[in-house]
Amino acid sequence: MPASVGWVWLVVLLPLAGFVANGALSLLRPEAKRAVSAIGVGVLVLSFLIAVGVVGGVATAAPHSPYVLTYWQWMPAGGLEIDLAFQVDQLSAVMLMVVTGVSMVIHIFSVGYMGDDPGYARYFAYLNLFVFFMLVLVLGANFPVMFVGWEGVGLCSYLLIGFWFENNAFADAGKKAFIMNRIGDFGFLIAMFMIFHAVGSLSFVEVFEAAPGTFEVGGTTITLITLALFLGCAGKSAQIPLYTWLPDAMAGPTPVSALIHAATMVTAGVYLVARTNVLFAIAPVSSFVVAAVGAATALFAATIALKQWDIKKVLAYSTVSQLGYMFMGVGVGAYAAGMFHLTTHAFFKALLFLGSGSVIHALHHAYHATHRHEDAQDMRNMGGLRRAMPWTTGFMWVATLAIAGVPLFSGFFSKDEILAMTFVRGHDAGAFYVLWMVGVVAALLTAFYMTRMMLYTFHGPNRTGEQERGHLREAPWVMTGPLLVLAVGSVFAGLLNLPAILPGSGWLHHWLEPVTEGSAAYLPDLHLGSDTEWMLLGLATVVAAAGILGAWNFLKPAQLKPAREAPVETGIQRVLLRKWYVDEIYDWLVVRPVMWMSDRAFWKVMDVKVIDGAFVNGSATVARALGWVGSRFQTGSVGVYLFLFVMGVLILMRAVIR
C-alpha cells in the first residue's frame, strides 16, 4: 500500500475538525467570520490536497484489490463483525476527487455568497460536517460504515435545507427531505439485513467475493436485496417515487444546492449501485428496474422542468432528470458510464447552481437596496442580466451547453455513452430500446428547458424593476473564481472517458476496471460498432441542436411579464407548473390518512377511549360500584357496626366448629 493512502483518515478527519471548530465558534463567537472562513475553507483545501496524494498513490500502485484500512472494531456481536474501516480503490478515488474538489470550490464560493448572513459560522460548520459524512460514505469499507455517511449526509442536507429555519416552509422542506431519505434508508437497512443473513458479513470485500457463489443469477434473494438497495438509492438520489423532496430542498442556500443537491450527496445512490455492481449484475431484473426507473425519472422530471419559473426549481428538476440518466447507465450495466456522467454532472450542475446563486445574490441585493419584497429566484423577475453580469452569463452558457449535450462539452460524451450503452443492450432485450428512446426524448427536453432558462434569465429585456436595475452587479471574484474553475471542468471533464472511436478513449472505464470486473461476467459485452457509434453521436448532436434552437425560436422572452403581473396558467401548463400534483397526491394518500389515524383512531379513540376508558377506568368503575354497595353498610352508626361485627364472628365460628 502506498504511504499516501495511509493518510486517508486525515482527509476525513479534517472536515470533522472544521465542524467542531466552526460549531464551537457559532455558539461562542458567531461574529468571528474571518476565523470561520479560514477554518472552513482551510480544512477543505488541506483535505483536497491530501486526497490528491491518496488518489495519486492509487494511480501509481494501480492495485487490483482495494486497500482496506481498519481502525477499530465497531460493532462486534456474535457472528457479526463490523469494523470501522475505510476502503480506498479506484471507485472511491473518483468520488474522493469529486467530493473534495467540488466541495472546496463551493466552500470558497460560499465565503462570498453567505458573507452577510448572521448564521455564517453555523453554515460553515454544517458544510464541513457534510463533507465529513460524504467522505465517510464514499470511503466506508462495509455497508454499515457507508450507512453512517449515508444518513449523515441526509442529516446535513436536513440542517442546510432548513438553514433559514425562520421560514416555516423552509423548515418543512428540510424535514421532508430527511423523511423521504429515511424511507430510502429503510430499504438500505433491509438490504443490509438480507445480505448479512445470506453472506454472513457486511464488508464489501467479503460480500463481493462471496456473492457469485452464494446467489444464483436472478434469484429471489439477490433480487430483493438489490431492489431494497435501490429503494435506498431512490430516496437519496431523488428517483421516482421518492424524488419530491429534492425540488423542495432548493429552500437551502444556493451553494448548498450546488454541493449537496447536485454534485455530491444526491449522486450517492449512483455510487452505491456502482459500488455494489456485482450484486446488481447478478440480479438482472433489479438492474432493469434501476434503468427503467432512471429513464422514467429522466423524462418525468424533464417535463416538469419545462414550466418552472423558479430558476432553482428548473435546476432541481434538471438534477432529478440527470440522476435518472445516471441510473439508466448503471442499470444497463455501464457502471463506468454512470460514474462518468456523475463526474461531469458534478461540474456543470454545480456551475449552474453557483451561477444561479450569483444571479440570485445580485437580485437579492438589488431588491434589498430598494426595500422591495419580490421573489429573487423567479425568472420572470430577471431577463437581460447578461449586460450586468457578463462573466456569470458566459459561465452559465458553458454549463448549459454541457448539460444540453452539445458536442465536445463534457455532458455530450457522458450522456451519449449512457444512451449508447442502453442502445447496445437493446440487442438482447427490446425493452432497452424503449428506455433509449425515452432517454433521447428527455435529452431533447433537457436542451429545451435549459435554453429556456438561459433565455429568460440573461436575454431579452430586464423585468427586475426600474430602480433595481441600477443595483444589479456582477458577483465578486470570490464567487466568479469558483465558477471559472467549474467551467473549465465542465468543458474538459469529457476527456476522462472519450468514446471508443476517438483516440485516448475510455480512460475512466479502464481505471474502474478492477472494481467492475466482478460484474463483467454477468453482463453481455457492451461494445458497439463504430458505425453505430457515429450514428448515435450524430443523433445526439441533432437532438441537442433541436432542443436549443427550438427554445431559441419558439420562446419570446420579450412577452414575459414580471411575476407579480403574470397571468395564471391553465391546462397542461398548470399541471406542469404544479408538478403533476404529485405532492398533493402524496399528501392525500399518505400524509393525511396517517395523521388522521394517529390522532383520531389511535390516540383519541384507542388510547383514551378504549384502553383508558373501557379497561382502565372501566375496572375502576367496577371497583367503585362494589365500593358503593359496601358503603351502604357504612352508616356511621356504631350500633350497626357492632351488629355486623358480631354476626361476622358468629359466621366465622360456625365455620370453625365442624
Binding site: A77, F165, N167, I183, S598
Partner: protein, 510 residues
C-alpha cells in the same frame, strides 16, 4: 478489603444512609448533600467497569447473607453482563437527576431528595438481586418513592397519574409474587430444599412445567406492564407528564428497563418452552411491533412534548422486546444497548423538556418555535439528542436498533421489516417536534429573554451527550462486557428447544 466483596452491599446501603443524612440535614443543604451522595454512589460503582470480568457469564461480585433461613430466603446479590450496565446506568443517572431537580423542586426538598436516594437503592436492588424474594422486595420498594415523587411533586393531575402508575405496576407485581411463591413451593416439594435462590430455581425449573404457561403469564403481565407493552402502556404517558423532571428521567431511564430486564433475567430463562412457543412468539412479536409503530404514530400527534417523549419510549421499548424475543446474540445485545441508550437519550430529552418548562412554564410544543436563535446551545443539544433517539448512525441509537434488527431478521424477517419502518416514524415525530420547538418563525416575544444553558444544565447534559457519541462511535467496550452473558442466555434458552427438535426428528414428523 476486596472490592468485589463489598461493592454491592455498599451500593445498596449507601443511598439509604445518604437519604437518612438528608433527612437530618437542614433544608437548604438537602440538595447539596443529595448531590454529594449520588456522586459518591456513582464513584463507588465506577470500578465495576474495570473489575468486571468480560469473558464469563457467571455472576460476579456475588454476596450472600442469610436473611430468613427458615424459609430459605437469603440476601443474595450479584452482577453479570446483563445487569452490569443497568447498575451503572442507575448510578450514572442519579447525580444527573439530582442536578436536574436543582431549581425545579422548591418545597419539601429534604423529603424529595431522600426519596430519590431510597429509590436508588430500590432500583439497584432489582437489578442485582439473585434471590427472588429479595427481588420482589426491591421491586416493591422502588414503587413507593416513585409514587410519592409523582404524587407530591408532580403536575396538576399528579394524584391521578400516581395512582394509575401504582395500581398498574402493583397488579402486575402481585401476580408475579404469586408466581414466585408457586415456583418456590413446587421446587421445594420436588427437591426438599427451601430456597428462593435464582440459580436453584433455574436448575429445577422443570418441575413447574405443568403450570409453565400460567406462571409465565404472571411474570409476563408483571414485566409487560412495566415495559410497557401495548396495551398496558397508558399509565406511562400520564406518569411521565405529571412527574417532575427527575421523576420522568428515572422512570424512563431506569424503571422501564426493569420490565425488559425481568424478561431477560427471569421470564425467558425460566420458561423457554412457553416463551418460544410459536403462538406466544407471534403474540409477543406482534405486540412489540404494535408498540413500535403505534407508539411512534401516537407520539407524532401529541401536543405535549413530554407526552411525545413518553410515547416514543413505548416505541423504543418495542424494539427491545423484539430483540429479546428474537433471541439471537446480536438482537439481545442490541436490546441491552437500546436499554442503555434509551436511558441516556430519553433521559436527556426529559431533562431538556424540563429545562424548556422552567423557562417558558409550558410543555406545549406549539408554545415554542424559532428558539434556536435565542438559545443556540440548548437547540444544538436538543437536536443531537433527538437525532440519537431517531437512531442516526454515529449516535448510540443506531447501534442498538441496528443490532436488534439485524439479529431479529434471521428469525422473523417480515416482523423485522415492519419494525424497521419504525426508523421512518421516529424521524417523523421527532423532527416534527424539533421543527416546531426550535425552528420555524419566532413568534413569542416573551421567550426572547430565555437564558441559554447554564453551567449546571451543561453539567447535566454534558455526560449524556458524551455517552451518546461514545456508544455511537465505539460501542465495543459495552458489547464486549455483555457478550458472554448473552451468549450463555441464548444457548441456555435454545437448549431445551434443540433437545425437543432432536427428539422429534427420528419420528419423521415435521
Amino acid at each position: 478489603m476486596n472490592y468485589a466483596a463489598w461493592v454491592l452491599d455498599a451500593l445498596l446501603l449507601f443511598p439509604l444512609l445518604a437519604g437518612l443524612v438528608i433527612l437530618l440535614s437542614p433544608e437548604h443543604l438537602a440538595k447539596r448533600v443529595a448531590l454529594a451522595g449520588a456522586v459518591v454512589e456513582f464513584l463507588l460503582s465506577v470500578p465495576l467497569w474495570w473489575m468486571f470480568e468480560p469473558g464469563t457469564a457467571a455472576m460476579q461480585f456475588e454476596v450472600v447473607h442469610p436473611w430468613v433461613p427458615g424459609w430459605g430466603i437469603a440476601y443474595r446479590v450479584g452482577v453479570d453482563g446483563i445487569s452490569l450496565f443497568m447498575v451503572l446506568l442507575t448510578t450514572f443517572t442519579m447525580p444527573l437527576a439530582v442536578l436536574g431537580s436543582w431549581n425545579y423542586i422548591r418545597d419539601k426538598e429534604r423529603a424529595y431528595y431522600a426519596l430519590l436516594l431510597v429509590l436508588t437503592t430500590g432500583m439497584l436492588g432489582v437489578f442485582v438481586a439473585l434471590d427472588l424474594f429479595v427481588f420482589y422486595v426491591f421491586w416493591e420498594i422502588m414503587l413507593i418513592p416513585m409514587y410519592f415523587l409523582i404524587g407530591v411533586w408532580g403536575g396538576p393531575k399528579r394524584i391521578y397519574a400516581a395512582i394509575k402508575f401504582f395500581l398498574f405496576t402493583f397488579v402486575g407485581s402481585l401476580l408475579m409474587l404469586v408466581a414466585i411463591l408457586t415456583i418456590y413451593f413446587m421446587v421445594y416439594r420436588a427437591t426438599g430444599v427451601q430456597s428462593f435462590d435464582y440459580h436453584h430455581f433455574l436448575r429445577n425449573i422443570e418441575v413447574v412445567r405443568p403450570f409453565a404457561l400460567l406462571l409465565f403469564g404472571a411474570f409476563f403481565l408483571g414485566f409487560a406492564i412495566k415495559v410497557p407493552m401495548f396495551p398496558f402502556h397508558t399509565w406511562l404517558p400520564d406518569a411521565h407528564v405529571e412527574a417532575p423532571t427527575a421523576g420522568s428521567v428515572i422512570l424512563a431511564g431506569i424503571l422501564l428497563k426493569m420490565g425488559t430486564y425481568g424478561f431477560l433475567r427471569f421470564a425467558v430463562p425460566f420458561f423457554p418452552g412457553v416463551a418460544l412457543h410459536p403462538t406466544m412468539v407471534n403474540v409477543i412479536v406482534v405486540l412489540a411491533l404494535i408498540g413500535i409503530i403505534y407508539g411512534a404514530l401516537v407520539a407524532m400527534v401529541q401536543p405535549d412534548f413530554k407526552k411525545l417523549v413518553a410515547y416514543s419510549s413505548i416505541s423504543h421499548l418495542g424494539f427491545v422486546m423484539l430483540g429479546i424475543w428474537a433471541l439471537t446474540v446480536q438482537s439481545v445485545e442490541g436490546a441491552i444497548i437500546i436499554m442503555i441508550n434509551h436511558g441516556i437519550s430519553t433521559g436527556a430529552l426529559f431533562f431538556l423538556a424540563g429545562m424548556l418548562y422552567e423557562r417558558a412554564h409550558t410543555r406545549e410544543v406549539a408554545a415554542f418555535g424559532g428558539i434556536a436563535r435565542v438559545v443556540p446551545a440548548l437547540a444544538a443539544v436538543l437536536s443531537l439528542v433527538a437525532l440519537s433517539s431517531i437512531g442516526l448512525p454515529g449516535t448510540n441509537g443506531f447501534i442498538g436498533e441496528f443490532l436488534v434488527l439485524i439479529g431479529s431478521f434471521g428469525e422473523y424477517p417480515w416482523a423485522t421489516a415492519v419494525a424497521a419502518t419504525g426508523v421512518i416514524f421516529a424521524a417523523l415525530y421527532l423532527l416534527r417536534a424539533l421543527q416546531r420547538l426550535i425552528y420555524n418563525k419566532f413568534e413569542r416575544p416573551e421567550l426572547a429573554r430565555m437564558p441559554d444553558l447554564s453551567v449546571r444544565e451543561l453539567l447535566v447534559l454534558g455526560p449524556l451527550v458524551a455517552c451518546i457519541l461514545w456508544i455511537g462511535i465505539y460501542p465495543r467496550p459495552f458489547l464486549h462486557r455483555v457478550e458472554a452473558s448473552v451468549e450463555a442466555l441464548v444457548e441456555q434458552v435454545h437448549q431445551p428447544e434443540a433437545a425437543v427438535a432432536q427428539a422429534r426428528t427420528p419420528g419423521g414428523e415435521q
